[in-house]
């Protein structure tokens, strides 16, 4: 008993070390979104290409869709874009682009140059809708089901692996 008492510091230290070791494989900056399994915040935003008309979350009801937040000023978006183009061309689900805090002229030019296969692109000029979606690192992508519930969120560029491993199975699950 007397000796056990003196082992306490060692035990505490080893306990902390285990956590530190686990911590090495975690990313302290990756914040899980509290929005998963919550209703997607509603928006009604002007379309980029068809001036004057708007699109709202209500229009997307009844189908599974992907919301991709992008901007022409964002470097990682460029890296992600071929994957988005490829995925939306497969036509599995509609992919809606949300042009975040961007200049519309620049955005159009960017899409012309790098390919535009979004089903629609809406403009979030002042970033209000982005804020509602908790966007902080563009690009971000949200998978939203037919009832308007967010089922998946990715901060940063989507990869082919994300699409195969996470998005496609979720689409199968929620597509009726």
């Amino acid at each position: 008993m007397k000796v056990l008492k003196f082992l306490i510091p060692l035990v505490v230290f080893l306990g902390v070390s285990i956590f530190l070791f686990k911590g090495l494989s975690l990313n302290p900056r990756e914040v899980p979104s509290p929005l998963i399994d919550k209703p997607a915040p509603a928006f009604s935003l002007p379309l980029l290409h068809e001036t004057g008309s708007t699109l709202s979350t209500g229009d997307m009801r009844g189908q599974v869709w992907l919301l991709n937040v992008f901007a022409s000023w964002c470097g990682p978006c460029l890296e992600e874009h071929p994957i988005i183009v490829d995925f939306s061309e497969r036509g599995v689900i509609p992919v809606l682009g949300l042009n975040y805090k961007d200049n519309s002229v620049n955005a159009k030019r960017w899409l012309e140059r790098h390919g535009d296969s979004y089903s629609s692109v809406v403009v979030d000029l002042d970033g209000r809708s982005g804020l509602d979606y908790g966007v902080y690192g563009v690009p971000e992508s949200f998978l939203i089901d037919g009832d308007g519930i967010i089922r998946y969120k990715k901060i940063g560029p989507l990869s082919q692996a994300d699409i195969e491993a996470d998005i496609l199975p979720l689409i199968d699950k929620y597509k009726r």
Binding site: S17, F19, L24
Partner: protein
Amino acid sequence: MTPEIGHFAIILAFCMSVLQSLFGLVGYARGYVQWMSSVRRTSYLIFLLTSVGFACLAISFLTNDFSVLNVASNSNSQLPWPYRLAATWGSHEGSLLLWVLMLTGWMAAVARFSRGIPTEMISLILGVMATVAIGFYLFMLLTSNPFDRLLPPAADGRDLNPLLQDPGMVIHPPMLYMGYVGFSVVFAFAIAALISGRLDTTWARWSRPWTTVAWAFLTIGIALGSWWAYYELGWGGWWFWDPVENASFMPWLCGTALMHSLLVTEKRGSFKIWTVLLAIITFSLSLLGTFLVRSGVLTSVHAFATDPERGVFILGFLVVVIGTSLLLFAWRAPKVGLGGKFQTVSRESALLANNVLLVVAAASVLLGTLYPLFLDALGFGKISVGPPYFDAVFFPIMAPAMFLMGVGPLARWKDSPVPDLMQKLKWSFIVAVVSALILPFVMGDWNVLVSIGLLLALWIALASIVNLGTRLKQIRSGRTVTLVSALSSIPRSYYGMLLAHIGVAVFIVGVTLVNGYEVEKDVKMSIGDTVSMGSYTIQLDSLEDLTGPNYEGVEGTLSVYKGERLVEVMYPQKRMYTVQQMPMTEAAIDTGFTRDLYISLGEPLNDGAWVVRVYLKPFVDWIWGGCFLMALGGIFAVSDRRYRKAGSSSAAATSAP
């Protein structure tokens, strides 16, 4: 060639450390006198080799050798030379080299200044320190070589982070590391005591000066870092409870506790087990800090570029060093005897309570720092723990410790009758309470926190004065001694203690008043506009473009009037560093004994006006002044004749035969 020489020197230093560790530890175990007596010389040699390595890296930086990866990533040909020198320790690799340089420096210092300690102990101590050094050399050589070449060489470097381009960077890290690494000495002493079983009052006397010096360096290092943040970040914050700040603060808290428990161990032979454990914990927290800063497990403003491989290495090293030490502790500590007995109210009890509070404070900081990691690792999601938590937890724990600072030094060893203590401290307490209640009114606005802060500060200061008075009375009672000779007969370590305690009081005054009475104004200013701040009127005279060696920017000229008298002209700047494209706010500060006037330029507005932030920060410099007094107290204590005498008499003894 230079980097290769440096690299080679470090490899040699590594090999020598392996030898020294072997000679020191195995020599002790087998009783090989020759082996044991060699470790002093190898310590000097390792320090020399590491200095050569460090000098080579510094030369590469100073001569803009962009074929060295480290130089190309952290320097630039336009960077002024003092910052090129400071850039030597501006990166992860370079600062690691600084770390081992300090470690071997301490090793050489122990070899040089511990002549009075028997060879077997020195052999163990330097053997342990060399073992710690081995880990760091290996870490550097295997994962973080500062001498790596870049092929083909870069045309120019990517520049030093603008935040680091500051005189603070030249001096803050070396001071901090001196403190951090300095605790390795008392750690080595503790391990040596556990191995040899020689854990007595003599051991405590040997360890004390080393602990105090390291602590003084750490105090200065932390204060410099805080001061640097104050003037460099552009809005005058001085402490943020950032994980990296906490990483330096936890060893400081434990080191403070250690100094006090070493005192009990030396004077009374008590708290031996606790002291040894505390020595191990203090250095372990230094090592943990290294891990936190370099592994990327926590997000911090100060963190180095990180990669998991390095994290795994340091963690492995941590587990080996700390784990072995604590295992050794668990094995040897039960055999250590208790010290002398003491009564419930005595200096021992006061110091024990001080230790409890300081260690619980350190543990709470550790808990808050690591808690987000714990939750994340358990899959409970991510949270942030920030200043509101630390403020709420830290100050209530420290307040009683501050109160004890008034009582402890006056309490007698073994047994200190309560009526006697109350008699001595009665007036200090009354004066402190009354002044603390009235002073905030005088300053214009009464609030509880200011009152409590002033109460504690006054209490510590008054009790220290009473303490000195009592001591003088004792010396002069029954004898005719002049005041001067009575004062000079008091040992320096006692003055050191008083100075350090008064430093804490000064620090509290600074923190309390700046938190309570700071005034801040964010205004739009065009040329000619004025802003009034307390008794000052500040006028924006002009705004001019400015070109620095590696930045461009705008400089404002502001005249400060008191009434109608011009008292100061201040020049805040807004800079844009061209290579890193990073804006920096260079605040202009008019430092005063009772207040700082702090002006920083915000952003330009459309109509030619600028956003200007003006702060009046009462007594803010007392924060760092207090820290300086604390460190000075430490240095004073170490310069005490007792330690020097021990050194010289034994030196005479060794030279006698």
